[in-house]
Symmetry: C2
Subunit: 173 residues, 2 copies
Amino acid sequence: MPNDLNAKIEKHTIAVVVDNEPGVLARVIGLFSGRGYNIESLTVSEVDPVQRLSRITIVTSGTRMVIEQIKAQLDRLVPIHKVRDLSDDEKPCIERELALVKVVGTGEKRIEALRLADIFKARVVDATLTSFVFEITGTGDELNEFAGLMSQLGMIETSRTGIVAIGRGPGGF
Amino acid sequence: MPNDLNAKIEKHTIAVVVDNEPGVLARVIGLFSGRGYNIESLTVSEVDPVQRLSRITIVTSGTRMVIEQIKAQLDRLVPIHKVRDLSDDEKPCIERELALVKVVGTGEKRIEALRLADIFKARVVDATLTSFVFEITGTGDELNEFAGLMSQLGMIETSRTGIVAIGRGPGGF
């Protein structure tokens, strides 16, 4: 039943290695937004300062057919060196995200925030008499859970990186 | 000497809170690339699932005058709720980034990779008999230093989130 398979909405994590020059990111994103596809998470950072290469990680949801079309179009863009759908690999890839979470409060709530941070292995990266900024890493779900708890303890601000992903084992990109 | 000041190239970390809908990210990035300004790092992730708000963090370099123009244009885009140049604050903001680093090797190099990971407080998130994937967080410079060392010990792949930033102390966005 290939039609059913094609119609199923799946979450995909796509890694793209590109030349680090102005306009490349806009073109990559344009391929998604031009089709009305929302980007759930996007990260980009230079990974090779000598060759000036950046790696973009995009999490998106769509039918297999549309994702295949987007991948094929990405492959044709000149400044793009490699495209890989990490969700297609046999072994699940490692996905991690970083969040900074600011919590303001005193008394029991402040103590409870520290206690939970300890359980979640979050680290204090800024502290005043009435505030903490926690740094936490984990999967998106783990970060959602931590943010949900902290929102009850005075969380006033959060900033998240979005997902980065890498395949398991010794194989390279 | 306002002309001199306006001509100086500075690095800026800009936080933008936007509606999480298709096309918004492309418009934000278009403001930069339309002027030939390179985005050194960009992260985007949903920070408020109820109101469906995303927070975008952009690191860019430019003269103060052009950065001011970009900020003013961002402020005028409808799906944009807040714009803040964290570099303008009196106190330096906290900037952090996450990297996944895959190192393949055996023998002394493998041992040395583990030793250095321990010093940099990197954590092993995947291991085989011949490979490690390390997760490390820190400033961009710290991550560069770690990647530079690991590239001599069998690093075959790395994926970085780009910078997220948050102001110090109890003040909110």
